[in-house]
């Protein structure tokens, strides 16, 4: 396998295959809906296969980045086209390619208007997401980062629900404010590097910058710029308010990608860039971030408890779950970081699944109000079972992926701050409360009048819907039982990360 991949620019192939597909689709006649759909799915599957090839060829034992590709882009400023992969980015790239084809498949039935534009937007979105995880040049990273924004803006704004324009503009403005300040930080960093070394060569090169060691003042402000961009994306309390709006209005597949991958961009950015580049500042900011994470975990769960809308409930549960990610990162321990990473993967799988489940019921009823549902177990047994699986997974049932992430994070926190672990554990109980309460209202009891009115349209899951969910179920069980597979994959980068920070040495105690 390694030989097969070693001759290829495999990272470029993974990143830009969707772009090629998007260009091809642009030339297909727009009436040929099925050609367009299958071409998009085919492209996404090709990218997925490439990413799996990479997974088999990847050597977890080797430290640093692998499969590096580098070419000069704008030598005047030392800007390069530089890609590389390590265990962390590999896991997230595979998550991205997997969720993308699932989302495209899940869009076959619901998206009936402007299918061509939709599929093009989706594939370009994939280019941006994959690129963010693979870019090793700060400038290139920023470009991919912004590339994600526009397709998502269109996906929510064109194919979204009733209040889609408000939601999509809010999404763009929040994200843009954060990312532009990050751009200032990137440039300030590059300039400092250039001023100290006398050359632009390497001024945007992540690996060189990590070794550089910036002065504390620059670190403080540059970290703030990076952190804001990532915190908005994660989203951390109090920068989370765009998320429920965006989720509620986005089409199902948009929600899946938003929760499954876009939020991970924030977590990835913190782990890859914000902390290693500015360890001192990360250290100084950590107490505040830990407190915000805890507030986010508890607040998200409490607010989710009272949501009348299924999607909004899942959206607020995301705020709560992603709080574990930022918490895990900023306690600076091995378990904490492992937990954060596991939580990212698990949240991508399980929340992606939950959004797909909400999408299934929305397709049939065109409604997501919890109060109108009830008694689905009797009429849609398969749906009830699969939904139950994802609800249990999301609330952290041991044996499924969701449990490991939260549990390991809490263990990591406990070593240093028992009270932090206690608050987080409390939130896990709240999570069980809002999810089970919701499940009970939707699935059990008598069939509601509203659903009776739907009549024979209320059919159980179709084969396509099962196909979209099956891989997620397999992954949720797989990573729940064998989290070691993932831990082994990213042990190297986790060690590198810890070498940059002082574990747990915070002024919190």
């Amino acid at each position: 396998m390694t030989q097969l991949v070693s001759g290829l620019p495999i990272l470029t192939l993974i990143t830009f295959t969707p772009l090629v597909g998007a260009i091809l689709i642009a030339f297909l006649p727009k009436e040929r809906l099925n050609w367009i759909r299958w071409a998009a799915l085919g492209t996404a599957l090709v990218a997925w296969v490439f990413s799996l090839l990479l997974l088999t060829a990847f050597d977890p034992g080797q430290s640093g980045f692998q499969f590096g590709e580098v070419a000069d882009w704008v030598p005047t400023f030392g800007i390069q086209y530089k890609l590389g992969v390590d265990g962390i980015s590999l896991a997230l790239v595979v998550l991205t390619t997997t969720l993308t084809w699932i989302s495209i498949l899940a869009s076959f039935a619901p998206i009936k208007e402007r299918v061509k534009e939709y599929m093009i937007a989706f594939l370009i979105l994939e280019v941006g997401m994959t690129g963010v995880f693979l870019a090793m040049d700060m400038f290139l990273f920023y470009i991919f980062w912004e590339l994600v924004l526009i397709p998502m803006y269109l996906i929510i704004g064109i194919w979204g629900g009733a209040n889609r324009i408000y939601a999509t503009i809010k999404f763009v403005l929040y994200t843009l404010v954060g990312s532009l300040l990050m751009l200032v930080a990137i440039l300030a960093m590059a300039y400092t590097y250039q001023a100290n070394t006398g050359t632009w060569v390497g001024a945007f090169d992540y690996q060189k910058l990590v070794e550089f060691g910036f002065d504390p003042t620059l670190q403080f402000f540059a970290f703030a710029g990076f952190f804001l961009a990532f915190a908005i994306k994660v989203p951390m309390f109090p920068f989370h308010t765009w998320l429920p709006d965006a989720h509620v209005e986005a089409p199902t597949a948009g929600s899946v990608i938003l929760a499954g991958v876009l939020l991970k961009l924030g977590g990835y950015g913190l782990i890859r860039f914000a902390v290693p580049l500015f360890p001192q500042a990360a250290h100084d900011w950590a107490p505040l971030i830990i407190v915000l994470s805890l507030i986010g975990i508890v607040y998200g769960a409490i607010v989710a408890l009272v949501q009348p809308d299924l999607k909004k409930l899942v959206a607020y549960s995301s705020v709560s779950h992603m709080g574990f990610v930022t918490l895990g990162i900023f306690i600076f321990t091995e378990q904490g970081l492992h937990g954060a990473l596991l939580q990212m993967i698990a949240h991508g799988i399980l929340t992606g699944g939950l959004f797909l489940m909400v999408g299934v019921i929305y397709e049939r009823t065109h409604d997501r109000t919890i109060a109108k549902m009830g008694g689905l177990a009797g009429v849609l047994p398969v749906y009830a079972a699969v939904f139950g699986f994802f609800v249990l997974g999301s609330l952290g049932l041991p044996g499924l992926a969701g449990f490991v992430g939260e549990f390991v994070t809490i263990v990591g926190a406990f070593d240093f701050y028992p009270w932090v672990a206690a608050v987080a554990a409390l939130a896990m109980m709240l999570g069980a409360a809002y999810l089970l309460f919701m499940y009970q209202r939707v699935i059990f009891g008598d069939l509601s009048d509203f659903l009776k009115g739907i009549g024979h349209h209320l059919t159980d899951m179709t084969r396509t819907e099962v196909v979209t969910l099956a891989p997620l179920i397999v992954l949720a069980i797989g990573f729940g039982v064998f989290p070691g597979l993932l831990l082994q994959l990213w042990q190297g980068p986790v060690n590198d990360f810890l070498a940059h920070v002082v574990p747990g040495a915070l002024a919190l105690k």
Partner: protein, 509 residues
């Protein structure tokens, strides 16, 4: 007695060529009246040839017949790399405007010949400013630039708005020219010369070692008047009041030209005057430029947010862009004399001007294309559902808007990148200016994306007429789009523009 040798002729060839081309257009119209297409072929073909001539004659670094800066007429006019860059930009602007014009003018019964001829005369003025190294020539060239502009603004003479806009433009324009002239007179009075290099030498002797306090009050007064006059011409806040009315009233292709042509030329004037002649007192004018930049971009963007007329919106947006360009000038002013940051600031001004020309002209061209049918208003509602009615036109508009927003990897992103980076390199207060710039860019995203919302997320109005594009408009849009994409995305082009900006900035210092 002025000796005329081959180099003199080569140096004067670009502006002389454009002036002759303007005459040729008039002659062709007299010989074959009413042959619009022929006129366009002559105008565009002539400009294309002249662009090639400028590239061949140089002096571009590495290529070109002229080895270096070529002074003619006893140093009153100079052909250096700055002149070349500005000549190319201005001629590209004229070429695109001539392509966009006829499709708009013809249905309204407005003649093409006078339009093209006046435009070419105005551009001649701009090109003379670019090479002027004498205060008298500078002023004459400025008048040659703006006088045809007044006529063009009132070109639709039966349209009340056009006439109103033209009169406002004319009154405020003449007023500011007079202010500017008075400033020139005072400067001449104290330095005793009109040659810019000698003015520079004289001013730096006057400043001496005691700093600005040693400058005679009248010279300070002259400096203030020059700043005010120039601020009028670039439409910096608070000297911007003529802009929205002039832009809204003018025929749309003219508006497109007014938003870029005179602006680029006015920045050429600022470079020749403030950098070349008054560089030694830059500490005196820099604070004003910093404040002008901050106020101009912020106010321009804030007012643009509430505009419903697309031409007014783009007018205010062009004010905001003036502010961004001024950031580059402020970076030059605030940087220590002889530092790399100084040159970087000038490069930012030049790069921004080039990138801005393509994207802003493109955006106005789309508006003009929509208004080909007389009676189509420039209300934003005109754009409703354009994504369905004319997918390609909408996609181009989206491209220009994204570039104006500064989304990578388009030209506008590089432009913003350049000014922010220049400001950061200086540091201090300029860092705050850089942060203000990106916050403004985020605010601007709101109104640019509002147009995208109308195009893609709203349904077309009942009975909206089909959009048809003329062949010339198509060609022009294609060129503007290629410029916007190529400057951003194709490394050799990006590097070439950066290299040209670099050598132009070096020519000034």
């Amino acid at each position: 007695m002025i000796s005329i040798d081959a180099n003199t002729i080569l140096a004067l060839l670009p502006p002389a060529g454009v002036a002759l081309l303007a005459l040729l257009v008039v002659v062709v119209d007299i010989a074959w009246p009413g042959r619009d297409r022929l006129l366009v072929v002559v105008g565009v073909g002539g400009l294309a040839i002249l662009i090639a001539v400028v590239v061949i004659v140089g002096p571009l670094p590495g290529i070109g017949l002229l080895a270096g800066a070529q002074e003619v007429f006893g140093g009153a006019y100079v052909a250096d790399s700055l002149t070349v860059l500005l000549d190319l930009t201005l001629m590209a602007i004229a070429l695109l405007t001539i392509l966009f014009g006829p499709d708009y003018l013809r249905p309204r019964g407005l003649p093409t010949a006078e339009f093209a001829a006046m435009l070419l005369f105005a551009i001649t003025g701009g090109m003379l400013i670019a090479g002027a190294r004498d205060l008298l020539l500078l002023f004459l060239a400025l008048e040659l630039l703006v006088l045809p502009g007044y006529l063009l603004a009132g070109y639709a003479k039966r349209d009340g708005l056009s006439t109103e806009g033209a009169i406002k433009y004319f009154l405020l324009g003449s007023f500011s020219s007079a202010i500017f002239l008075f400033g020139l007179v005072l400067t001449f009075g104290y330095t005793g010369t009109t040659n810019i290099r000698e003015v520079a030498a004289s001013v730096s002797t006057l400043v001496g070692t005691n700093g600005l306090t040693s400058l005679p009050p009248a010279l300070l007064m002259g400096l203030a008047l020059l700043t005010t006059g120039a601020a009028f011409k670039i439409a910096a806040v608070p000297f911007h009041y003529w802009t929205p009315d002039a832009y809204q009233g003018s025929p749309t292709p003219v508006t497109g030209y007014l938003s870029v042509g005179p602006k680029v030329a006015a920045f050429a004037l600022i470079l020749r005057l403030f950098v070349d002649a008054l560089g030694s007192v830059k500490a005196d004018w820099t604070p004003f430029i910093v404040i002008l930049a901050a106020v101009t971009m912020t106010l321009g963007n804030l007012v643009a947010l509430s505009q419903d007329n697309i031409k007014r919106m783009l007018a205010y947006s062009s004010i905001a862009h003036t502010g961004y360009i001024l950031v580059g000038l402020a970076a030059f002013g605030a940087a220590p004399v002889g530092s790399a940051a100084e040159q970087n600031g000038l490069q930012a001004v030049l790069f921004y001007s080039v990138a801005y020309s393509f994207m802003n002209l493109g955006a106005f061209a789309v508006v003009a294309a929509l208004q080909r049918r007389p009676g189509v208003t420039s209300q934003i509602a005109t754009f409703a559902g354009l994504g369905r009615r004319a997918p390609l036109l909408a996609a181009l508009m989206l491209l220009f808007l994204l570039s104006l927003t500064g989304i990578p990897p388009l030209a506008g992103f590089w432009a913003k990148w350049y000014v922010i980076q220049a400001a950061l390199q200086v540091g201090g207060w300029l860092t705050l200016l850089a942060v203000l710039t990106v916050l403004n860019a985020a605010a601007a995203a709101f109104y640019y994306l509002r147009i995208a919302v109308y195009m893609y997320m709203r349904d077309p109005a009942e009975g909206a007429p089909p959009v048809t594009l003329g062949g010339q408009t198509r060609l022009g849009l294609a060129l503007a789009a290629i410029g916007t994409i190529a400057i951003g995305l194709i490394p050799p082009v990006t590097i070439a523009v950066i290299a040209m900006a670099q050598s132009a900035a070096q020519a000034l210092l």
